[in-house]
Amino acid sequence: MKRLLALAVVLTAGAAGPAQDPAVNDILKRFDAARPDTKSLAFFSLDWEPTLKAALARSKTERRPVFLIANTNITAGCNFYSGHT
């Protein structure tokens, strides 16, 4: 009986293909460690809209004020929300 069970386990494992490479879990762990935590992402807890037009469309219906940040940079504008230039 034990031999039959062992044979079944071997055959099942063979049907599923080779076992998962341990390196996969290492990569997933490195991702978890590199993903910023909630505290460092607090900037994204503000109620952002991508444009003044979109912000005013919402403010009129929600009756909330709007805060506009404006800046210039001679080589290229930047995306304050995402953080990229």
Binding site: A16, G17, P18, A19, Q20, D21, A23, V24, I27, L28, R30, F31, A34, R35, P36, T38, S40, L41, A42, F43, F44, S45, L46, D47, W48, E49, P50, T51, L52, K53, A54, A55, L56, R58, S59, K60, E62, R63, R64, P65, V66, F67, L68, I69, A70, N71, T72, N73, I74, T75, A76, G77, C78, N79, F80, Y81, S82, G83, H84, T85
Partner: protein, 274 residues
């Protein structure tokens, strides 16, 4: 500014009653009409705005405006000192306004996102000027060619960097003052290899190096490893999830073109939806 003064907890709390938005361009000549109307109403006439702040009521009428004093060298690049000072300036700007109580938003993050695609978090190591204290977060939709390039490999195969360009071109640092926010050249040497099965999913690993040259005057160039774990349905070949990391050390130049320091940039990459 984004990483220290604006992200300082007291500054964030002062901005919670508002719907927050931004405009940024090369000069005020680039402003759309609605932003120009606000800037004009504030009596700001200069072609350049290092930073200008405006509080508007729910109908878009200008309530308050200011050009804050944001000069990191004056605070020896100390983020705490910069943040506290900026919060004081915000307090003064908003003093006396009848603002609504902020909604219960404090703990809820609204990160850049897409229905299907990738989200990339860029974080940065210690640097002399205390830049990059708030992560850069990008979300991007993926063309079919991207998924096709990562189809399940029956055996290890090379993957052309060009097919992954929508992702690779996001691996650049902000605040490169002499650049336009893009890459001049990307060289990637990447291999996708099968990595077994956990019973429910099959896995593959993308490994290799990515070298990037920025479009700036100094031709900033950096190269580093990229590793992704890609999962697939047990009976399918189209990627189901992608997660991984990349690491680079990029040189930061002085205005005179000298390398002042090298800064570690780490990318954490995840597919969306989770």
């Amino acid at each position: 500014m984004r990483g220290s003064s604006l992200a300082w907890p007291a500054s964030l709390d002062l901005l919670r009653p508002f719907i927050v938005t931004y405009w940024s361009g090369r000069t005020t000549d680039d402003m759309p009409a609605d932003v120009r109307a606000v800037v004009d109403a504030a009596g700001m006439t200069h072609q350049h705005l290092n930073l200008a702040l405006f509080a508007l009521d729910a109908d878009g009428k200008l309530l308050r405006s200011t050009i804050p004093f944001v000069r990191p060298p004056a605070f020896r690049f100390d983020p705490a000192a910069q943040g506290k000072d900026f919060a004081q300036q915000l307090t003064k700007m908003l003093d006396g306004l009848d603002l609504p109580k902020p909604a219960e938003r404090k703990a809820k993050l609204a990160l850049p996102d897409v229905p299907t695609g990738l989200r990339i978090y860029l974080t940065f190591g210690a640097n002399r000027l205390n830049h990059y204290r708030t992560p850069t977060v990008e979300a991007l939709e993926l063309p079919d060619s991207f998924r096709a390039a990562l189809r399940y490999p029956d055996e290890a195969r090379d993957v052309a960097g060009e097919s992954l360009r929508p992702m690779l071109q996001q691996f650049y640092p902000p605040a490169i003052m002499d650049g336009h926010g893009g890459c001049r050249k990307i060289d990637a040497r990447l291999k996708l290899s099968p990595a077994g099965s956990d019973g429910e999913r099959r896995w593959a690993i993308l490994r290799g190096t990515v070298a990037i040259e920025l479009d700036n005057k100094n031709g900033t160039r950096y190269e580093g490893p990229l590793t992704l774990a890609v999962s697939y349905p047990k009976d399918g070949s189209t990627p189901k999830s992608i997660r991984g990391t990349g690491t680079w050390e990029f040189p930061k130049h002085t205005p005179e073109g000298r390398v002042a320091e090298t800064i570690v940039m780490t990318a954490a990459i995840e597919s969306r939806p989770e």
